[in-house]
């Protein structure tokens, strides 16, 4: 008899000796290559498969992976018990060696052994519960993933540019509209709001017969009717606008008002945004910043996709920084400097308030007194500390003179960092690669990024060195695809940053730097790399999904820690607190990370170094 069969594994441990013998006598062993179909959808299986080695996945008709199986897992018990063809397909995600237990033997065991039977029916209940849980999560999330055209849209009222302000005001009253769409003198689409009329007449003291073409806003943002409502909210938050023309088939379909969007999704985000906007003092701003954690908790709890949470948090953080800059920067600095954020803040992947990673770029020959600059930097840093943004551990902050330089000084520094490879230099380059504009003159950052891209063109040797850390940490999946957790560190916890998040971020960063991708956000970089053909589209999608899942798990861990007041181990997640479905997706995500690491390693010939 095959000595490898381990009958101590549930549910086989519930069998009586004679039944175990019957099982062992009936087993065959099958081998499947990676990608081979084990059970086809709509095919009644004749066997129960118990994995000896390898990794199999269950895909639904939409090709989504709904379950994963590794050593000692069995499938598809439900199809055998119900005697029907599974709707899903089971295939080998990598080479699989599995026992095949004939259906008849399995069903005899289910019928004869109550313990054995209960095992499956218990799991069936658990499975159903898990499914119900998922469905309700989706239900909660549905109001966030609603489409723009599901919200109330005001009918578009178009007016010619020649109309006077008075006529426009009458038209709005008559139509009970809060805004008009204006066709500009040059044919561009603009928006005229009540606020525009009020400001033109009362503040700028324009005559009432001023033409609306001169008072409307033409530099407007629009949104597609098919887009997510949540994106409309982000767009409004980011640009501080209260309405968006909604486009359908290239034409204006209606107008989405912020108030309607809010009545559609009563989230806190607008409250925080409004608070930031209305802040008159630093104290006001601090109070607004305090609203972020409850906001993120609420969004995460309602099942909003992590990517949307990070986008919103990023938009808010940038707004807070920009407002603070506005409060604190003297006019000279506003005109001749550019405030940037770097690292995860620059990539827009901040999920809670984490480290301050910021820098100041000064125009060459700015002529500002050093004390003035130092004074501003000190104040800025202190204010953020008071807002609970912890200082950057690597001291990448405006209080460090290394990060307050002129454009040409940064140019020299870049030259050094590139040509004298060191961990320090590469860390700085990585930070710069991920930098994003906050306030001041955006052209200053653009100049530096351009020169960075230019200097690195065709420098393969640099990239093999730069990309090396991607393979530095082990991705915690063992040979048998059980999750491996660090034995030395917290037992049962998994360092999700080293094992999963960092390799993706850094590998994608290296590719983005190599291919001059301007985006700093990892999701956007992945999309762009797929668009220009550097990543296979399907793989890019998987990678994005895996990345989102890992970020999501990390956020979950952090929120839990915040709730319990524990501070340490920010990047560790408790593998045993995850339920099977999460564990399975985690395993899957880490497999994709592993595949990605192999790709990066091949691309930059990293294997040659180790």
């Amino acid at each position: 008899m095959p000595k490898m069969f381990d009958s101590s594994v549930p549910p086989f441990d519930r069998l009586r000796p004679r039944e175990r013998e019957a099982v062992v006598d009936a087993l065959d062993i099958a081998y499947f290559r990676s990608g081979d179909v084990i059970i086809a959808a709509d095919q009644k299986p004749d066997h129960l498969y118990v994995i000896i080695k390898g990794h199999a996945v269950e895909r639904d008709p939409d090709e989504e992976i709904v379950n994963t199986f590794s050593a000692k897992d069995a499938f598809d018990t439900m199809a055998l018990i119900k005697d029907e063809a599974p709707a899903n397909r089971f295939e080998a995600a990598e080479e699989v060696i599995a026992y095949m237990l004939p259906r008849k033997v399995f069903l005899t065991l289910v019928a004869d052994n109550a313990d054995f039977e209960r095992f499956y029916f218990q799991s069936l209940t658990e499975r159903l519960e898990a499914q119900a849980q998922l469905a309700s999560n989706r239900g909660m999330a549905s109001f966030m993933i609603a489409r723009v055209d599901e919200a109330y849209l005001h009918p578009p009222i178009t007016a010619p540019a020649e109309l006077t302000l008075r006529e426009a005001a009458r038209l709005m009253k008559q139509k009970r509209a809060t805004s008009l769409l204006v066709t500009g003198f040059d044919g561009r689409l603009g928006v005229l709001s009540g606020t525009d009329i009020r400001e033109a007449v009362l503040i700028d003291e324009q005559p009432l017969d001023m033409r609306i073409g001169d008072a409307a806003t033409f530099d407007i943002h629009t949104i597609d009717a098919e887009d997510f409502l949540f994106n409309a909210q982000i767009l409004m938050t980011r640009h501080g606008v209260k309405r968006l023309p909604v486009m359908k088939d290239g034409r204006v379909h209606g107008v989405l008002e912020l108030i309607d969007l809010l009545s559609f999704m009563s989230s806190h985000s607008h409250l925080v945004t409004t608070q930031v906007d209305r802040a008159q003092t630093i104290e006001d701003l601090r109070r607004a910043a305090d609203g972020m954690v409850p906001l993120v908790t609420a969004l995460h709890g309602s099942g909003v996709k992590i990517r949307h949470v990070t986008e919103l948090v990023t938009a808010l953080n940038r707004k807070i920084f920009a407002k603070l800059f506005e409060f604190l920067a003297p006019p000279e600095i506003r005109d001749h400097a550019c405030l940037i954020v770097m690292g995860s803040e620059g990539r827009g992947e901040q999920i809670l308030r984490t480290d301050q990673d910021n820098a100041l770029i000064l125009r060459d020959g700015h002529g500002i007194r050093p004390e003035l600059i130092a004074g501003f930097c000190g104040n800025f840093n202190r204010a953020l500390l008071a807002f609970d943004y912890p200082p950057c551990k690597g001291n990448m902050m405006v209080t460090n003179p290394e990060w307050v330089r002129t454009v040409s000084e940064y140019g020299d520094a870049l030259h050094r960092w590139i040509n004298v490879p060191s961990e320090f230099g590469h860390l700085n380059l990585a930070a710069f690669t991920d930098s994003a504009y906050v306030a001041g003159d955006p052209a200053l950052l653009a100049q530096i990024r351009d020169s960075l891209f230019r200097r690195l063109t065709d420098n393969q040797a640099f990239f093999s060195f730069f990309a090396r850390p991607v393979t530095m940490f082990d991705t915690p999946i063992g040979l048998f695809h059980q999750l491996r957790t660090d034995r030395h560190a917290q037992a049962g916890e998994l360092d999700i940053k080293k094992g999963g998040i960092f390799p993706i971020v850094h590998g994608i960063r290296a590719m983005a730097l190599e291919k001059h991708v301007q985006d700093t956000n990892t999701f956007q970089r992945i999309e762009e790399l797929a668009r220009i053909g550097e990543l296979e589209r399907e793989f890019a999608q998987n990678l994005s999904d895996a990345f989102a899942f890992l970020l999501d798990l990390r956020l979950k861990g952090r929120l839990e820690r915040q709730a319990t007041g524990s501070e340490d181990g920010d990047n560790f997640i408790q593998t045993r607190t995850l339920h099977k479905l999460q564990r399975d997706v985690l395993k899957d995500s880490l497999l994709i990370v592993k595949e990605f690491k192999a790709k990066v390693s091949h691309r930059y010939k990293l294997a040659a170094f180790s």
Binding site: P2, D28, I29, A30, R33
Partner: protein, 213 residues
């Protein structure tokens, strides 16, 4: 082996066969199956060693039919040397309850039928069986034979490409298992070794099979 040559040898063997009971060994096999087998012996020299046990398992496509397996213990005609006991863990008392060698071989031959044979350094195992078969039936095993060590060697050379070829391929059983990422082998006995060899065979065959997408 060349197909025509094999056919000729078969035809020749058939005429030499002393006992028509065993004509089935020469019948064309329509089962689409192969048999992987391994022997445990009292020594490494076929001329002097004795057969102690035979383990065999059928293979069909990507499946190893462990539900149809053969595990035979044979009663040796002479005492088993101590060093063989150390290797096989087959003590005299273990084999004492075994079958007489001809009875065991009869069962084995009926199990194999006309199916091709698979093994690891198969030549030795076939020589061991033939040593008993020749004086008894006038022929050796006529079945087609595939040695997994040769398959593995070819594959490794092919993969390495001409310029990386160093002339040495580690053909030790444990090395092959490890290189192919197959699970650790359990107890060292004839059936288990046959099973592991079957795994190597199935994996090498499947990997070489073109994918249908």
């Amino acid at each position: 082996m060349n197909v025509i040559l094999h056919g000729m040898k078969r035809a020749l063997g058939r005429r030499r066969l002393k006992d028509p009971e065993y004509t089935f060994l020469f019948e064309p096999d329509g089962s689409d199956e192969a048999v992987c087998f391994d022997c445990e012996t009292s020594g490494l020299e076929p001329a002097t060693a004795e057969l102690l046990s035979i383990g065999a398992v059928k293979i069909k496509g990507n499946r190893i039919l462990t539900s149809e397996r053969l595990e035979l213990t044979i009663r040796p005609e002479r005492a088993v040397p101590a060093d063989a006991i150390k290797v096989n863990h087959l003590r005299e008392m273990d084999v004492a309850g075994g079958l007489p060698v001809h009875e065991a071989l009869d069962t084995f031959l009926r199990f194999v039928g006309g199916r091709p044979l698979v093994g690891y350094y198969l030549e030795f195992d076939v020589a061991m069986v033939n040593k008993y078969l020749r004086p008894w039936l006038g022929v050796g095993l006529p079945n087609r034979q595939t040695d997994v060590s040769a398959m593995y060697y070819d594959r490794t050379i092919k993969r390495a490409g001409a310029h990386d070829y160093t002339g040495t391929v580690d053909l030790r059983f444990a090395s092959i298992m490890e290189d192919l990422g197959l699970p650790e082998r359990g107890a060292h006995d004839a059936f288990n070794d046959a099973l592991m060899t079957a795994l190597i065979y199935v994996k090498l065959m499947e990997d070489a099979r073109p994918r249908v997408d």
